[in-house]
Amino acid sequence: MIPVMNSEKPIIIVKDLVKKFDSFVANDHLTFEVKQGEIFGFLGANGAGKTTAIRILCGLSSPTSGQISVAGFDAYHQADKIKKNIGYMSQKFSLYEDLTVVENIRLYGGIYGISRKEINVRTQELVEKLGIAAVQNKLIKDLPLGWRQKLAFSVAVFHHPKIVFLDEPTGGVDPITRRQFWDMIYEAAHEGITVFVTTHYMDEAEYCDRVSIMVDGKIVALDTPANLKTTFGVQSINEVFLKLARN
């Protein structure tokens, strides 16, 4: 289950991560590594412990025990340094609805310490790339859902973080927009940003370089999508998941 070591140092190193809430063990001795520039899929049923693990990796919560290093920083003592080097986006919250597109970009740029001048430069680039010049001064709540998700992702990587964490980013969105979103993910990965993504869409798992599947707080499978399908003798990640979850 432990992947083959790359010659480059992994950007996320997790060894025996345990997280307990009173006596309930949410994460049970998780061990895995994520390579730089990888698109890493983190799958599992609701309640399997995914959200708990992500929060720890983002520096939002402390582990009970185990070694965790994210972007070279230790999760116990350097959580604030971790936060400076990562981006985060989730389905539940992305951008402030009663601010405009540009206001949101400036806000997050400012939070991550980018200079005013640099923010303006990158904002222009972003507006051109997404083709949103016409709506850049509209309130987020007046934009369709698909645009919001794509914008949220752009804002999450605006400060060129080393890793971006995406928590079910494509829920409820139409299939074309979903794919456009994944285009953006591919591009970010191509530019060297490591992408750590969770999703309920099993076909999206296939877009990842490697996938891990959690059941009841443990990682029960971790490999490339192709290898997983071969190992379990099935045609899709969906079926891999079904086989694992049923046992």
Partner: protein
């Protein structure tokens, strides 16, 4: 950091509700407090029992009435009328001059008066008596230079219904009104809006249940629980604070149930105004609690407020309920004296229920 602060300002100015809270409420509160919180007396209704009707008593009477503090409501002719004056509730003080007042004062230098105050509101009663005394002393001081012998008018003071001027006599009815209003109205409105927020209201609507069934089903437990609350408050008031229950306990409980129903129907009405529990709670607190404390006569007498506010007070259910409760508990009146106030509560309840049923949405829009 700066960007974050700017963002917060955007949020505030773009949210109408926050603006109302920031600016609207403090202004309203200040205005209310300014006008309501006053310890001065103005136009208090009194009755005079003048057994002499001579020059002196008329002079004193004139002084009293021209002071601006008092308004003559009635001239009464015998002692038995005093009781009914108070029971009717308008008259706050009865001033009694003994017979042969002027002659006794001239010949003996002493004449007797009685000041009987309705001490179911002990603060007001105290103030009234003190003002009266001050005016009387003033008269004596004026007359002193011309008098042949030292003059003395020391009135005998009686605090009716509350001889020891216990504040708790006023608080218990007020607190009962406030608690019942808060609990019944707020909890009912929260309970109904919670169903809307959770989405279970949708399922209830798409069922054979009629709206009236949904409302009654939600409200009935609160009626029973509020009633238990009311009984507890009365017991504590009576046994621990020795607030008397002079009148009929059955009548007292019946009126309490009526008020509970008014509060509940208000709660239902509030729940038709919003889909959010938080907003329902806020409306209950601001629109109900504040007026209950300030505008019901609980702490600050209504008669001392500007006319506009006095008119507003008439629309407050707690105002009528407190009058009813005080009358029954402290003055021992029967339905005969408080049927008007009771009728007002019945009308209020009917109006609220009618409005609620009409506004209760059978659909989601």
């Amino acid at each position: 950091m700066k960007g974050f602060i700017i963002k917060e300002f955007y949020h505030i100015f773009r949210d109408f509700r926050t603006l109302i809270i920031l600016f609207g409420i403090p202004v309203v509160q200040l205005m209310l407090f300014g006008f309501v919180v006053t310890n001065e007396i103005k136009d208090a209704k009194i009755a005079i029992y003048d057994q002499s009707k001579d020059q002196v008593t008329q002079k004193i009477t004139q002084k009293l009435l021209s002071s601006g503090y008092f308004l003559l409501d009635k001239n009464i002719k015998n002692y038995s009328e005093i009781e009914s004056c108070f029971k009717e509730g308008n008259i706050k003080e009865v001033i009694v001059f003994e017979s042969d007042f002027a002659r006794k004062l001239e010949k003996e230098g002493k004449a007797n008066m009685q000041l009987i105050a309705d001490a179911s509101d002990p603060n007001t009663a105290n103030l009234l008596v003190n003002y009266t005394r001050a005016i009387i002393n003033n008269y004596v001081a004026e007359m002193a230079p011309q008098a042949k012998i030292p003059l003395q008018i020391i009135p005998q003071v009686r605090m009716q219904y509350n001889p020891n001027l216990k504040g708790v006599f006023m608080f218990v009815p007020g607190i009962m009104a406030m608690l019942l209003m808060l609990i019944s109205a707020m909890l009912t409105s929260i309970s109904i809006t919670r169903e809307k927020e959770l989405g279970t209201m949708e399922i209830l609507l798409v069922s054979p249940l009629r709206p009236i069934q949904i409302i009654v089903g939600k409200v009935l437990p609160y009626v029973l629980l509020s009633f238990v609350n009311a009984v507890i408050i009365l017991l504590i008031g009576n046994f621990i604070f020795e607030v008397p229950i002079q009148g009929s306990i059955i009548l007292l409980l019946a009126e309490s149930v009526l008020f509970i129903m008014v509060a509940l129907s208000l709660g239902i009405l509030i729940s038709t105004l919003t889909n959010s529990q938080q907003v329902a709670m806020m409306i209950s607190l601001v629109a109900l609690m504040l007026p209950t404390i300030l505008l019901s006569g609980f702490i600050f007498p209504i008669e001392n407020m500007p006319v506009v506010l006095q008119a507003l007070c008439q629309f407050m259910p707690p105002k009528w309920f407190i009058t009813i409760i005080k009358s029954i508990m402290l003055k021992g009146v029967g339905l005969g004296y408080i049927w008007k106030e009771t009728l007002v509560l019945v009308i209020m309840m009917s109006v609220f229920i009618l409005l609620s049923v009409r506004k209760f949405k059978v659909r989601l829009e």
